[in-house]
């Protein structure tokens, strides 16, 4: 790998946001960005600002909804939560990722053991 950190594809960031919201409940944009950084062990190259594009996309698909509220420090912030449709989408995407990861893993393992006839 050229870079130490992984570049994120558009779809995968969306998935991460959904998963985080499903696990942690309501969060604001900053909180989400920080959480993803933490969980990925800082391996993810993320301009925190890109999260706002993802948030708007997810909103338009109807997978998350937003509400203005007060943060811990009484700052005004927009809070996001996952919707029922979002949970469904999350479940589908997760299953698909697991399948793909399994296939890729097997394929790559094959190469390491030496070529098969």
């Amino acid at each position: 790998m050229r870079d130490a950190k992984l570049d994120l594809l558009q779809g995968t960031l969306d998935l991460m946001v959904l998963q985080t919201l499903a696990a942690m409940g309501e969060m604001h944009g900053y909180g989400l960005a920080r959480r993803i950084e933490q969980v990925s062990g800082d391996e993810v190259l993320l301009n925190q600002g890109t999260i706002y594009a993802a948030l708007v996309r997810l909103q338009q698909q109807g997978w998350i909804e937003a509400e203005w509220g007060a943060s811990e420090n009484n700052r005004r912030a927009k809070f996001y939560s996952i919707t029922k449709r979002g949970r469904k989408q999350l479940a589908e995407d997760t299953a698909y990722w697991r399948r793909l990861a399994g296939v890729m893993g097997r394929v790559l393992a094959m190469g390491e053991e030496g070529a098969e006839p």
Binding site: Y30, N47, Q48, G49, T50, Y52, L55, Q60, R76, K78
Partner: protein, 864 residues
């Protein structure tokens, strides 16, 4: 929205800064680190704004860009598809425009759905659909259904007036209309005004209205002509106005002809000329057509043919049946136009099937691409959407090209004045046609794109990704589907072909009809003569004229007649046997022609008995020549020659019988006809045509004939010397036009079907390359391989033809009323078309068959 985002971002950075401060950084450093972590603020805002934009628009644009790239790579396929689509959509646009103009669009009059045409329900030809002046005036005063009633003089002939005083006398066609004609129709004068009551009365000022095209051509579009007088046949007449450009009398009422000027009918002049006026009524608001019909049933029996003859009351009983004017004008065409519409719809269907096939083949080649995209997360919906975008783009491009082709064709059609179809000159591309085009383009795209799209998205990802290739199960399923599509294509093409074949046969039969005269060797020119001349002088002039023209080289016979067959006709009360009493209505009316000696010979008519002689004038016995139908009707089983008949009140002897001549139409049954001599003052002619029999092309004779005419009458205007064949062609032109269109569609369908067959067989050979290689390696000869491919082709084609033939029988029943002299199951037509299809199928399968026979087994087996 933007403000909220600003707030959010600001809040984000503040929170990050605070956290950094908690971790021990100075406020400035904390903020700086927070900004770095965040990344470009402007960038983030941009990205968010981008994502915000209508997401579906984004994906559509993305799809479009991808489609364009993909089609550009496959330029050949795209070009062929667009061409096929253009032909199919273009043909549909043309036919829809024609149908729209002739059937759907309202007439170019004011509130045209209130206008009715009043005529006897079984009227054949215009002379049946007329009434007398007394009936007209009674109708106007006694009716309660109509705001007003108008009409026109149905016996105008072309070039019936001369425009003089502007160089050589110009022939002009004048249509005499009732004074209120334009008011009732709701046609405006573009310049000047319409007729006044005064001008419509005998003895009032002479007025004329010019048609717009005539005004432009003859007077150079000069507006100062309004109010001035012009010399019409040696009489000064004032031009009171010019009609609006959109009004075309001929287009509506006598298709294929044009009218230059209009004058008011002098009712008193024609009061006792018999039935000469057509009736057009404008219904009062709230009055329906059935109500008008009911009233006509009670009202018309009270009218007189002529009030001078009290016992002519009731001659119109049951002879008035109002129908919507639009229905009268284009109703007869409804059947043909609907058939045309269906034919062109079939073409579009074939186009869709063809294109579906092409796309399926293309999708099969791109199966790897789809598999990869599927693996990368594209949902089935996304793939289908992508493919639909492709078909929409193809259909759209095809539609644009098709509309261009259609526009050119429509412009050409609108200027074909010689085709006797009503309203044809106003055919054009309007917004309604464009809406229709949009609708069929979208449906076409959906129809041919959906099937391949669904198949492509369902493709097995694993199978396709495997490097070994085509995947045999996949390929076989594909091929079955494609074969099924081609079979349906062949069936549809078969239906079109057989339909066209039947119509062609009918047309040929129509051409074959024995017209009773020989148009190929005759030509006619309208004769000018002084109507006020005394009859003895006129007879002498005519006899002299006949002699001189007959002496010209190339002229085999000369004659005169007041009317020519298949053009205007006149009907009188029929002849009766002298001495017998008939019940009223027992003798049908007869068409009458006033002729001079030599006419029958000049027309090539077959005469039994003797022709008229110049001596058959007032001083000798009254004579008549009847046609076979009339002779048989009066004296069944006997020879009519020599018998005495009564016409009107005059005794006449039958001196000859001619074979039936078609007077109203080539396809109609000839009615009763009688020919009377011009030389007798009882039957003074109403206009005259000089007819010449010649084997030379008429153009060569024209100058010498016109010169001879001018020698006798210097006032002869420059009239056209017309070959009679042109009159016949004009009469058959609607049918010819129709056959031409349907034939073209059938040809197109055949081409598409053959392309389809070629595509499938070619694909199957490619797919089976290995198998064929093995067979050849095992000893099969190239001929055997070739033959098996051809057998496959024939098998596929014959299934399609069988289905098509069965369908055709059904379809032919539907168009039975359009056929002439041909049964819907006419064996020669079916056989010929089926043979044609077999031939074409063989041709289509031949190239792939040759390719198959050329397969090198070594190469085929090696290639996986």
């Amino acid at each position: 929205m933007d403000r909220e985002l600003e707030e959010e971002i600001e809040s984000h950075i503040t929170m990050a800064t605070e956290e950094n401060i908690r971790n021990g950084m100075t406020p400035e450093e904390a903020r700086r680190k927070a900004m770095v972590k965040f990344g470009g603020v402007e960038q983030a805002k941009e990205k968010q704004r981008e994502s915000r934009g209508l997401p579906w628009l984004d994906t559509v644009l993305q799809d479009l860009r991808f489609t364009m790239r993909s089609l550009w790579r496959d330029r050949g396929f795209a070009a062929i598809s667009i061409l096929i689509l253009a032909l199919g959509i273009g043909a549909n646009v043309v036919v829809f425009s024609v149908v729209n103009t002739l059937l759907l669009r309202p007439l170019p009059f004011y509130q045209p759905d209130r206008l009715v045409w009043i005529a006897p329900p079984d009227a054949k030809g215009l002379s049946d659909a007329t009434y007398s002046v007394d009936a007209y005036e009674d109708l106007r005063s006694m009716n309660r259904s109509y705001a007003d009633v108008t009409g026109y003089f149905a016996f105008s002939t072309p070039d019936n007036e001369k425009l003089m005083g502007r160089g050589l006398p110009q022939p002009v066609t004048n249509m005499m209309v009732a004074g209120n004609f334009f008011h009732v129709l709701g046609v405006d004068a573009a310049m000047g005004r319409l007729f006044t009551e005064d001008e419509s009365r005998k003895g009032g000022p002479a007025a004329v209205l010019l048609s717009h095209p005539f005004w432009e051509k003859q007077f150079g579009g000069d507006p100062s002509i309004v109010g001035k007088a012009i010399n019409l046949s040696n009489k000064p007449v004032t031009v009171v106005g010019v009609l609006s450009e959109s009004f075309d009398f001929g287009a509506a009422f006598s298709p294929g002809s044009k009218v230059d000027i209009f004058t008011p009918v002098m009712m008193d002049d024609i009061r006792y000329s018999g039935n000469t006026l057509t009736f057009i009524g404008r219904l009062k608001p709230g009055v329906t057509v059935p109500q008008a019909r009911a009233e006509a049933k009670t009202l018309f029996p009270q009218f007189y043919w002529g009030k001078r003859y009290p016992d002519s009351k009731g001659s119109y009983k049951d002879r008035a049946y109002p129908v919507l004017l639009k229905e009268y004008i284009s109703g007869k065409l409804r059947r043909s136009l609907i058939v045309l519409w269906c034919a062109v719809g079939l073409i579009l269907l074939i186009v869709c099937v063809n294109l579906s096939n092409l796309l399926l083949a293309r999708a099969a080649a791109r199966s790897k691409e789809f598999a990869v995209r599927s693996a990368l997360g594209a949902g089935k919906g996304r793939l289908i959407r992508q493919l639909m975008t492709e078909s929409m783009v193809l259909a759209g491009a095809g539609a644009v090209l098709g509309v261009g082709i259609a526009y050119a064709l429509l412009m050409y059609l609108a200027h074909q004045g010689s085709i006797a179809l009503p309203l044809l000159s106003s055919v054009r591309l309007d917004w309604m046609t464009l809406v229709w085009t949009l609708a069929i383009t979208v449906s076409t795209a959906v129809l041919f794109g959906l099937l391949p799209g669904i198949r492509a998205s369902r493709a097995n990802v694993q199978e396709a990704l495997k490097d070994g290739g085509h995947g045999s199960t996949e390929g076989r399923k594909h091929e079955t589907m494609r074969t099924a599509l081609v079979i349906s294509e062949v069936a549809l093409a078969c239906v079109l072909l057989i339909g066209a074949g039947l119509l062609l046969r009918s047309f040929l039969k129509v051409l074959d009809v024995d017209l009773g005269f020989q148009p190929a060797t005759s030509a006619a020119v309208k004769l000018d003569y002084d109507e006020d001349m005394k009859i003895e002088k006129r007879n002498a002039v005519f006899a002299d004229l006949s002699r001189r023209v007959g002496a010209l080289p190339g002229v085999e016979a000369v004659g005169l007649s007041d009317n020519l067959p298949l053009e205007r006709n006149r009907g009188w009360g029929g002849p009766r046997v002298k001495g017998r009493n008939y019940k009223p209505g027992e003798v049908p009316g007869a068409f009458v022609y006033i002729v001079a000696p030599g006419y029958f010979k000049a027309m090539g008519m077959r005469l039994r008995g003797r022709d008229f002689a110049w001596s058959d004038d007032d001083k000798s016995e009254g004579v008549v020549v009847l046609n076979e139908t009339a002779a048989r009707g009066l004296w069944p089983g006997e020879d009519a020659v020599g018998k005495m008949a009564v016409i009107g009140k005059k005794d006449v002897r039958v001196i000859g019988v001619i074979a039936d001549v078609h007077s109203t139409g080539v396809e109609d049954q000839p009615g009763w006809q009688m020919y009377l001599p011009m030389m007798n003052s009882e039957w003074g002619p109403d206009g005259a045509y000089l007819v010449v029999k010649t084997r030379l092309p008429p153009a060569e004779l024209a100058t010498s004939v016109m010169r001879t005419l001018r020698e006798v009458n210097p006032n002869q205007p420059s009239a056209e010397f017309r070959p009679l064949q042109r009159i016949v062609d004009h009469a058959t032109s609607p049918r010819q036009f129709f056959v031409l269109l349907v034939g073209t569609f059938a040809g197109l369908g055949l081409l598409l079907a053959s392309l389809g067959i070629y595509g499938v067989i070619s694909y199957s050979v490619t797919r089976r390359t290995q198998e064929i290689g093995i067979r050849m390696a095992l000893g099969a000869s190239p001929e055997q391989v070739q033959w098996s491919v051809i057998k496959n082709t024939l098998r596929m084609a014959s299934v399609g033809m069988a289905a098509g033939a069965v369908l055709s029988v059904g379809v032919a029943q539907l168009i039975a009323s359009l056929l002439f002299g041909t049964t819907p199951t006419d064996p020669p037509t079916y056989t010929a078309m089926l043979l044609l299809l077999v031939g074409v199928a063989l041709l289509a399968g031949y190239l792939p068959a040759r390719r198959a026979s050329r397969i090198n087994p070594m190469v085929a087996l090696r290639n996986e």
